[in-house]
């Protein structure tokens, strides 16, 4: 059992969720409410990681993370370190790869709020912020929960992008999914089986918890 790979996987999944969810609430809400030119283009960009082969996405990220590419150069200037083959690198890659999984459920949830509920809140004296906290967020909560579940589970299982950008450095970029692949390559079937079972269990518990929490709403229909 590769405990450091489990730790990298869990850390990666947790950080991805923590950073991506607030961002996705803002982005999903904007995409749901706003009407602007190029909205379709924005939505296409967000959805792109969904259809792109992970190796292709990983390849482009690898290129742009290089020290002579703008993103990599900027990062080096800010932090002094590189992005390729580091935890920060796979975290950023994971944020991008998970964008559609986090944004889309939240955007759909915002789209399903009848627009006059917000107006009713304003006419009841709630400020836009209070409306967001008291009315909108409780109503999109199931969407946020499923975004969290999808992001967390997808990050645990992400393979191609991580391998391209991060390689397989112990304790830094080797996630559980990559460790399993390594074990199989080394003919260690028992190790691979143990870790696969663990990944299955963690994914199942995460999804179960999240859907359980989202389902506990007395006011929901049905």
């Amino acid at each position: 059992m590769d405990w450091s790979a489990l730790s990298v996987s869990l850390r990666l999944a947790a950080f991805t969720c923590l950073i991506l969810l607030p961002l996705s609430i803002w982005l999903g809400r904007s995409l749901a409410y706003a009407r602007f030119r190029g909205k379709g283009l924005c939505e296409a960009l967000v959805a792109l990681p969904l259809v792109l082969p992970p190796t292709v996405l990983g390849f482009y990220l690898l290129l742009s993370f290089g020290r002579d590419a703008p993103v990599g150069a900027f990062w080096a200037q800010m932090t002094g370190g590189g992005l390729n083959f580091t935890f920060s690198g796979i975290l950023i890659a994971s944020l991008i790869a998970n964008l559609p999984f986090a944004v889309q459920p939240i955007q759909r949830a915002f789209e399903h709020i009848p627009h006059n509920l917000r107006e009713a809140a304003w006419c009841s004296g709630l400020s836009p912020w209070q409306t967001l906290l008291r009315v909108e967020l409780p109503l999109v909560w199931p969407g946020i929960m499923s975004a969290a579940a999808l992001t967390f589970a997808h990050t645990l299982g992400e393979f191609g992008v991580i391998l391209m950008v991060g390689g397989s450095i112990d304790g830094e970029t080797r996630t559980l999914a990559i460790a399993i692949y390594d074990r199989v390559q080394a003919f260690d079937e028992q190790g691979a089986a143990q870790m696969s079972a663990l990944l299955l269990l963690v994914s199942f518990i995460t999804l179960g918890l999240v859907y359980g929490l989202a389902g506990r709403r007395r006011w929901a229909r049905g």
Partner: protein, 396 residues
Amino acid sequence: MGWLDAGGGRVADSSMAELASGPGAGLSVAVNQTGPIPLAAEFTCQPGELLALVGPSGSGKTTLLRTIAGLYRPQQGRISCAGDIWFDAEGKRSLAPQHRRVGVVFQDYALFPHLTALENIQVPLRHLPQPQRREQAEQWLAKVRLEGLGKRYPNALSGGQRQRVALARALAREPKVLLLDEPFSAVDQVTRRRLQRELALLRQQIDIPIVLVTHDLEEATALADKICVLHNGVSLQQDTPEILFSRPCSPLVARLLDRHNLFAGVVVEVDGQRRLQWGESSLEVADGLVDLPLGKKVTWYLPPSDIVLHRRGRPSQGERENPITATVSELVALGGITSVSLRVNHGDMLRFDIATHAARRNQLTSGAVVNVSLLATGIHLMLGHQVRADAHDKRK
């Protein structure tokens, strides 16, 4: 004639007050824009008064309601309520909905589905400390007769109950104007009657302007003190239901109010008296004919209640007034009321309603020849735009 004097006095008072302090105590709306939704509407609503905005769908009723609430901002105009200016395009002033103190009952009620009935009513009471907030919400719940249902979520309430929660939530805001957007359209007939009755009762307890949007003329007539008729965003006429139905200011208003008996006539002189030539008849008209030049073509309207059917063989009341001979062309019995269409010699159709038993007693059958009188006081001359301009002047 005492009531007339009293009424006149009140009108004078309110216009004096408007002169003195600018906007009056009630709600006053004047908005104008060419697009994207064309609007040219002007109306007022005094405290305690219920104004119904009526018009076909797409006539801008709901947009006007949203404009009052601050949810829609027109290009031009001015809205004031209870002495405060809520919107003034020229002064670049537009209060946010949060600062307008409006109570709105939305068409589908827009209750917060994740909050119980009681919590919904507490939302506009957030400025109060919790125990008081709860107490007030309970009181509002009792006022709309929903005691004991406070813990229910909206999806566990019937349509009528939801409407009451929405009304309680709107009133808990202690609004300066109450806006109702087709509040009875989503419930069944029986519930609608009951809710309408309750609204009529509730009105006696609140002294703020109430604006009701509806496409149901019967509802508007039953509930409203005044009706404002809208068409394509333009306010055509604002008056009491009685005046509106007996004296619509234009053929368009008459048509929108589902009025028939619109005809064209010519001003003539018979034996030194002004008369209205209509086909072969020259009609006596009580009001307005004297001021018109001879030969002028006018559109005129007659309320169906001012058509009197002569009884066979016996003289009827007002028999000598504008007697007309006509042929029954259609009889439609709808329950206790029969709608009668008469064809006059020159082809125009007169329509009126009588009780079905009266139709039977008078042996009205299709093709029968009958005599009717058109009451001179009922004949209303429409001078097109001129009348409309007058109406505007009076309001100013």
